[in-house]
């Protein structure tokens, strides 16, 4: 025990230690959630091409039935979250504030939780291609928040190979305990998912990375480890952004993903632990994804906890059911570090929504924090997990010198973890500047004629 204390868990360099706030929900078992009167299902809940509807207005659908098919490789299908009637196919409100193509579904009153069974895919008898196809058909995307189609990640490009599969259970975002609960309650599903993933990627070993603030999860998974599987559990230091792919790879394997490269460039595939559990749960039944685990928490929520929530449930309904205070002032989808603040409660949760955090007026970030000029204190330099110089980048952004930012200061490597903004004593919205700068550069590149 004493030696355990002395021995430091592996981690990456730099990073920050924001307060955790996980106590409120981490001990609450996952509970089911009722169906909302109307479900809103955007067709683009993932990165890539929106899916194409295969149902028509007025059609009755069963829970788990295909609503929209994938449009190409970088796309996933959409399944019905509840049995009910397709009210309308049109435009639905989205988190960005714009109206996007989507489907309105009205569940039957008292609709059952029963899900349509599909064609099962067995690990033992399937080829990697079949598993990858099955994962796409199940509509699975990264449930950690990125919503990147998982099967795309698993498809190893020509000439490359994967030797290690990392299951990301770090969950470094404050407030969120989704993955924590999943690891406590769905260990068999996770193990099953790992089997599928190992087969699909051809990796020879799998490591589950867990931050040291979830010792019970590590113990639980270790207890479930089957002897035949090259799977181990690695506890890593509590630090934000430990859950970022690159940081986790560095912490566990001491490998650095090359600038502009992907994990596969260092023979690694990283999959979120909840995604893994979902693969292990859905594929044996040939089902599609229709609900996910979401942490509902924050000072503005009375019934804090983790819930199975059907995809497409409107935010307002969730908040009402979870007993939100009337004076909530800010609501975030995802964690407070990388999540998005919502402007309207009429938007639905999507596959990528890992948490809902609601703040009341007084707890929210003080409205009138004064922005001072950069005083070169270096706090951001000490925080940036990629060893960038956010101070210099911020100054360059302020003077709109975007090209120097990209050419001399590796702007494009920034994955917008927000550590710099968090620590900045001058309250400069650094990561916000970087998002705009990257956008400007991408737009310019798109406009530039191809050579």
């Amino acid at each position: 025990m004493l030696f355990d204390l002395l021995k430091k868990n592996p981690t990456f360099r730099h990073g920050i230690h924001p307060p955790q706030f996980k106590e409120d929900t981490r001990d609450k078992p996952i509970r089911h959630f009722p169906f909302a009167p109307v479900m809103i299902i955007p067709l683009a809940q993932h990165i890539g091409k929106p899916s194409v509807p295969v149902v028509s207005e007025g059609q009755e659908v069963t829970r788990g039935q295909l609503l929209a098919r994938a449009d190409g490789f970088v796309s996933v299908p959409m399944h019905a979250p509840a049995s009910g009637v397709i009210k309308k196919i049109g435009r639905v409100p989205s988190i960005s504030g714009k109206m996007v193509p989507g489907i309105f579904l009205e569940p039957f009153p008292g609709s059952s939780q029963e899900v349509l069974e599909g064609k099962p895919v067995k690990v033992e008898t399937s080829t990697p291609e079949e598993i990858i196809n099955a994962i796409q058909n199940a509509g699975i995307v990264g449930l950690g928040g990125a919503a990147f189609p998982t099967h795309v990640k698993l498809k190893i490009p020509e000439g490359k190979h994967a030797d290690t599969l990392i299951i990301n259970g770090a969950e470094c975002e404050p407030y969120l305990t989704t993955d924590h609960r999943v690891m406590l309650e769905q260990a068999p599903d996770i193990i099953q998912g790992v089997r599928y993933l190992l087969k699909a990627t051809g990796a020879t070993r799998a490591i589950i990375g867990i931050e040291s603030n979830k010792p019970d999860a590590a113990v639980n998974l270790r207890n479930h480890l089957p002897p035949d599987l090259p799977l181990s559990v690695q506890v890593v230091e509590v630090k934000y952004p430990q859950g970022a792919e690159k940081m986790l790879i560095t912490a566990i394997l001491d490998r650095e993903v090359p600038s502009g490269g992907l994990p596969i460039d260092v023979h690694t595939v990283v999959v979120n632990v909840a995604t893994t559990a979902e693969i292990g749960r859905l594929l044996p039944h040939g089902r599609g994804i229709q609900e996910r685990v979401i942490t509902i928490t924050g000072p503005g929520i009375k019934k804090k906890g983790n819930y199975w929530i059907p995809i497409g449930t409107p935010l307002r309904y969730i908040l009402e059911q979870a007993g939100a205070e009337e004076d909530i002032d800010r609501v975030f989808m995802g964690g407070p570090m990388m999540g998005t603040a919502v402007s309207s409660l009429d938007i639905p949760i999507t596959k990528g929504t890992s948490g809902i955090v609601a703040f009341r007026e007084e707890e929210a970030r003080k409205k009138d924090v004064k922005i001072y000029p950069c005083i070169h204190c270096g706090a951001c330099v000490d925080a940036c997990p990629l060893f960038l110089n956010p101070s210099k980048l911020g100054i360059l952004a302020k003077f709109k010198d975007y090209h120097t930012m990209a050419s001399d200061y590796n702007l494009m490597d920034c994955f917008e973890c927000g550590s710099c903004t968090y620590v900045c004593p001058s309250h400069i919205p650094l990561v916000q500047y970087f998002r705009i700068s990257k956008l400007v550069l991408r737009n310019e590149k798109a406009k530039a004629p191809h050579v």
Binding site: E256, P373, D382, N389, S426
Partner: protein, 339 residues
């Protein structure tokens, strides 16, 4: 049932750490004991000097910023630091009108002209001090003996010199430990240096209080500890080695550390965040460069003290340090180490 409007903003939605005005305020707190000891050592003239230095800096900042329409320029406390530091580097009975001139220069030329807080490429207090040093070389190298018996009842005539006139001295003058060393090869006792029993600039005499202030700021993570450590370490190392090689010519390490403005400069001046390098390694290199410069000027140069010039030089070099010493960005350079 819910409020109609929600506040939006982009992530991250929480912020931590201390804010700039907090940091600045704490530096002021750390300086207050030093200032109090200065008043105790040199009496009324030091008190008047510090008040004048502060007033000139604050007023200049206030009016210049009002002139170009910037709002509440004093709320960030940075100019308070400038004023205090500037006052603490001056000889205690410098004529107040000179103090005022230097304060105006410090803020106008050292800070405002570059765009105010965050853009000053040199430490403003030192710009003001260097200006005064060049403009009034006699007045700024005339020192007052510490702990004069009538220091709380008598204001030295030189302090109250009318503007544009030469000061007339009517009190016991003293010699700084460094000029004693340089011109008379007389070394002052380390204990006296540490406790501030010597003559010198208003705020530089008590090395102990300065160190305590620095430790406070380092403990609160409001100061880059690498700069003072590298700087003091360099000076100590060079002087110890050379002292060992020839004690007659080269003064000892402890004497070098605790005499003159080295402590004040290393702890409060060289660490001016805006004008120093941003990376940890850069800060170390910067400290070493300043340390070498201080030693060279003190021992081989014509002046007895070189902290001010060395730090200004360090400020001038720091853009280059930032340019050349950059951390290796993640995923560049070396590829992943093992398979």
């Amino acid at each position: 049932m819910f409020k109609k409007t929600l506040h939006i903003g982009t992530s991250p939605h929480i912020i931590g750490g201390s804010s700039t005005d907090q940091i600045m305020r704490n530096v002021v707190f750390a300086l207050l004991p030093v200032a109090a000891f200065a008043v105790y050592t040199f009496g009324l003239s030091a008190l008047l000097l510090l008040i004048t230095a502060l007033a000139s800096c604050l007023l200049t900042e206030y009016f210049l910023n009002r002139w170009i329409g910037k709002s509440s320029p004093l709320s960030d406390w940075s100019v308070t630091i400038t004023g205090l530091l500037y006052g603490l580097t001056l000889p205690p009975h410098l004529p107040l009108w000179m103090v005022f001139v230097g304060g105006v220069i410090a803020v106008a030329l050292g800070k405002f002209i570059f765009g105010g807080l965050g853009y000053n490429v040199f430490n403003p207090a030192l710009v003001g001090r260097a200006f005064i040093q060049a403009a009034f070389p006699v007045a700024i190298t005339t020192w007052m003996a510490p702990f004069l018996p009538d220091r709380f009842s008598h204001i030295p005539g030189s302090t109250l010199t009318l503007p544009f006139l030469k000061p007339v001295y009517d009190i016991t003058s003293g010699a700084t430990p460094l000029s004693l060393m340089k011109f008379e090869h007389h070394t002052t006792d380390t204990y006296n240096l540490l406790m501030g029993m010597t003559s010198g600039s208003t705020g530089e005499t008590s090395a102990l209080l300065i160190l305590l202030g620095g430790l406070y700021l380092i403990a609160r993570k409001m100061m880059n500890w690498r700069i003072p450590v590298a700087l003091l370490g360099t000076v100590y190392l060079i002087s110890t080695v050379l002292h060992w090689s020839n004690p007659d010519i080269y003064p000892g390490g402890l004497f070098m550390l605790f005499s003159g403005g080295l402590m004040l400069g290393a702890v409060f001046m060289a660490t001016d965040m805006v004008a120093s390098p941003i990376t940890p390694l850069g800060a170390t290199v910067y400290g070493i460069i300043i340390g070498i410069m201080i030693y060279v000027i003190r021992v081989w140069g014509g002046l007895p003290e070189g902290v001010m010039y060395a730090i200004l030089f360090g400020n001038a070099v720091s853009p280059h340090i930032d340019n050349f010493i950059r951390p290796r960005v993640y995923g560049t350079g070396k590829q992943w180490s093992k398979s």
